[in-house]
Symmetry: C2
Subunit: 361 residues, 2 copies
């Protein structure tokens, strides 16, 4: 049997993009040792300022550097045309965090170009774009890594729904940064000393936050992930700002420099300290949680006191945890837990999606 050619266009050459190409190269090597089902060919590599492509749809090779022989980017309609003319199945892999690329998904899908991506933007902006993407065919779109990176979150949710289970609630810790901060600030069983501001400083030093920690503390990343999960459950969510999201940035520090922000944050420690004491007195711990109540169409994101016996309380490091309570998984939730960020695990989710598309009819 001749292996089926799979034409891959990879957009974005940041951390995830590089990890993805490295995994693709390894896959290619593994496949070449057996009778391969697929012949994966990289036919376009692109970032915001430059690109390289093979007009004859041969393989660029997976160790290609964008510097050598790269030309200026072509307009998106030309990319659509180039990809849709490939002699076989095409997968656009969007490893950017660009909203602009996301807006083109419906066009790609309509032309039969499949899309796999860890880019949350297209799925968490307007409901209108979401609906357009869902309605566009015959191309297929998979985006496991938009929530919990490589953890099997969307695959599991889709299996629950496809097999007729009724999802009642989804709740969890969806941010590695928030997980790290609260697991350190209020560990299960242990006694924490430092204030919340100090934890943010420490997390920043250890590389667990964005360069400006406010990008994590505003809760918007969690809100985007929750929006995606809720829409998969069939809820209409106008945008990721259409429901209550608790920001942990004191109003006074919203406009200061990022250096000043981290320096001055401990001035506000008493606010979180009060909540910590209240939780302690109830035998609970604080966690930064996203929760969807599907039957009530409610989403909310913020700091909550949770029972010490709940899996969310026992979280460690910067792990994510996602708990599905459904009709079938009723008494105790179906729980998925593990690293929810990082280039390798994100790229893994993207590659697993690519393989799923490759195997589809």
């Amino acid at each position: 049997m001749t292996p089926t050619p799979i034409f891959v266009a990879s957009i974005g050459t940041g951390g995830v993009g590089k990890a993805f190409l490295a995994q693709l190269a390894q896959l290619h090597t593994r496949l070449s040792r057996q009778t391969p089902a697929f012949d994966i060919r990289l036919i376009l590599l692109r970032r915001s300022s430059s690109q390289v492509l093979t007009k004859d749809y041969s393989n660029l090779g997976f160790d290609i550097q964008l510097q050598s022989g790269a030309s200026q980017v072509t307009e998106w309609p030309e990319v659509v045309k180039f990809l849709s003319s490939a002699p076989g199945k095409v997968v656009l892999v969007d490893n950017t965090a660009s909203a602009e690329v996301g807006e083109w998904y419906p066009e790609f899908l309509k032309k039969g170009i499949n899309v796999v991506t860890p880019n949350k933007k297209a799925f968490s902006s307007s409901q209108e774009l979401w609906d357009k993407i869902q309605a566009a065919s015959p191309g297929k779109v998979l985006h496991e890594s938009t929530v919990g990176a490589g953890l099997p979150v969307l695959t599991t949710l889709n299996d629950l729904i496809d097999t007729g289970d009724k999802v009642k609630t989804i709740e969890g810790v969806f941010s590695g940064t928030m997980s790290f901060l609260f697991n350190s600030y209020m560990p299960l069983g242990g006694s924490a000393e430092g204030g919340f501001g100090g934890e943010v400083f420490r997390a920043q030093k250890l590389g667990y936050t964005e360069p400006d920690p406010r990008e994590d503390l505003n809760g918007l990343d969690v809100a985007r992930k929750l929006t995606i999960l809720a829409r998969i459950c069939g809820l209409k969510v106008a945008s990721s700002q259409a429901f209550p999201v608790e920001s942990l940035i004191p109003a006074e520090l919203e406009q200061v420099s990022s250096e000043d922000f981290v320096k001055r944050l401990p001035e506000f420690d008493s606010v979180m300290e009060k909540r910590k004491k209240a939780a302690e007195s109830e035998g609970k711990v604080l966690r930064y949680i996203g929760k969807i109540n599907v039957s009530k169409s409610q989403l909310e994101v913020g700091v909550k006191a949770v029972e010490k016996s709940h899996p969310m309380a026992a979280l460690k490091g910067s792990d994510n945890i996602i708990c599905f309570t459904t009709e079938r998984y009723g008494e105790l939730p179906l729980v998925i837990q593990g690293a929810g960020a990082g280039n390798d695990v994100t790229a893994m989710g993207v590659l697993a999606d690519l393989l799923r598309i490759a195997r589809m009819g």
Copy 2:
């Protein structure tokens, strides 16, 4: 677009078989409300003593009872012939626990008949049968529900392997009965009163054990699941009896009646009590654990003392938990947790596999 016909043959009409047909019926109803991608047709329903089939490959309907119009079972070669002559994609769904059906998988697969099943027998008996099944094509075989029922265990393990991660260890609690027994006998944080024998009695009364609890306490069910996981990781495992499995049945009670077994088990409480005290003195709890060390090719099943901070210690009810430690999920494992037994969640895993096959090219 005309929906693709998917011809389904369902073997076994016990609890899982019934739940599967009910879910299939609901799926059919849901699909009929939209433009369906698939036209699912039940063309054979069979149990050990009787069967009903449609010679013209039309749909039997999903509410069919085997009593009405059922005829005697035909020989397996005839079933192979009937199914392989269907005008489209065929899926044999084996909802039995029969070793005999499992031995026929290679023949079905060779004729292009796909197999989905929660039946552990074929995958956990000889390595030879496993190898035959893996080598057989063009039919595809999926068996998510053989480990952890509907929990995404095999899907996740396959994704890890397919994307090039290196699995180092897999450990967990793979038996709902064992989970219930030890979570009650030695709950995290709480103090347990009763002896181990009393817990077995209680679990039996609540329906958490087989009618004869020795079928759970011998550990063989866990050994079968571990064998399957190890083989997916590429290990050769001669059989599910080829590695150390701790039985919790006192030698003196192996031959007595099941009534006498439960009655006399408390006589042996001191044995487990000693281990409990030892674990307590180390600040640990006892759990019945299966563990695969992939790099060392080691499998073992038995009672282990685990750190209170480990997710396996915090288990509740009769939940299963499976922890993957890999190159990418290094520091903290990827954890999947939830109900690992029950007709509905088992059937859900089977139906999800069926849909995966339906979507494959």
